[in-house]
């Protein structure tokens, strides 16, 4: 009985500081992205699921990453194949991006939040009607 009580005390003595330490360092984590204020030519698309840009054209969007407490996180967008799609920051704000359709093809965009790649969305450059 005594041994069991002793063991429980040891476990508690270790677990409580570890739990406290964990609680202090983890903080809020990534929750979601929003995509709005989209400027696009006919057929172009920018959503949290997919980006579609006509070949030779540009789609602009306001893309923001939020944490679990609803606060904005520093973000970025990285094209998986930069020979098909280019992503530029727009002078109007830190979360405004322009996606340029360089060559037709399918690829993906990596969405970054707090310095980590948090999700990947489908991306396509297509031959648009002119």
């Amino acid at each position: 009985m005594k041994t069991r009580l002793k063991r429980a005390c040891y476990i508690l003595a270790l677990a409580v500081p570890l739990a406290l330490l964990g609680g202090c360092t983890a903080g809020p984590s990534y929750r979601n992205h929003t995509v709005d204020q989209v400027v696009k030519p006919s057929g172009g698309e920018a959503t949290t699921l997919r980006f579609r840009v006509p070949h030779g054209a540009v789609v602009k969007a306001h893309v923001v990453a939020f944490d679990t407490e609803g606060r904005r996180m520093d973000g970025d967008i990285i094209p998986v194949d930069p020979s098909l799609m280019e992503v530029d920051r727009v002078v109007s704000g830190p979360d405004d991006y322009a996606v340029l359709g360089l060559h037709p093809g399918r690829t993906a965009l990596r969405l970054v939040a707090g310095g980590q790649i948090v999700r990947e969305v489908e991306a396509e450059v297509y031959e648009g009607d002119i």
Binding site: P41, H55, G56, R89, V91, S92, G101, G128
Partner: protein, 229 residues
Amino acid sequence: MRFSNAMRPCALTALATLFLGSLGCTPMDVQNGELGNGGFKYLCDASTPRCQADGTAQVFPDAIASGARFNLRFERKGGKASVEAVRPVAKDIINTVDTEPPSFVAIKPGWGGFVARNASGELVDFSMTRILRAARIKLPTSADTDTFKLTLAYTGARATLRPVLVSSGDLQLAGEVGFDWKSVDPSVAALEQKDRGRWEVVARSRGATRLRVEGAGLSREIDVEVTGP
């Protein structure tokens, strides 16, 4: 208030400017950037119909001919100095020619997107035009049909030849292609090149002949008749 005949065009222009200004309209020679940070101007020279004295087109073109050379300038809103570089989006549709200032060549039909960047490389604004294949060489006159005949009334009479390219939908296409003219019989109608895109035909003697113009992989023949002595 009454205006004299000489004053009337000035007064109308001033009124039109005031009216457009009050509506927040952009002059037709500027294509507003999609982000509202400035506008793109199409640069031209005397060879372009409706080119203004400051070297910009009166109307921003709806489309540019594939194979043509052209130039654009970005002007930032608010009259700030234009430090931005303009470059095309897709190099296989529009390529940059390394000249000073840089000019562009339309390679093939498609969306001709342009981006303007600031000195830090951030995108300031963008705009799009269309690159279309030319279907026909046209003289910019309402009388220009397939059976169009140029008539010169007397020896020594001159007419300016400033052809343009049009799409299959008869849309006038901008861009410099470099036309080459030849007269079948220069003793009746001779040709003189005035600048890169502008030629003059001069009546030399009474008679009829044909002029042939080539450019952008197209050709066209025009009948000429010198009717007077």
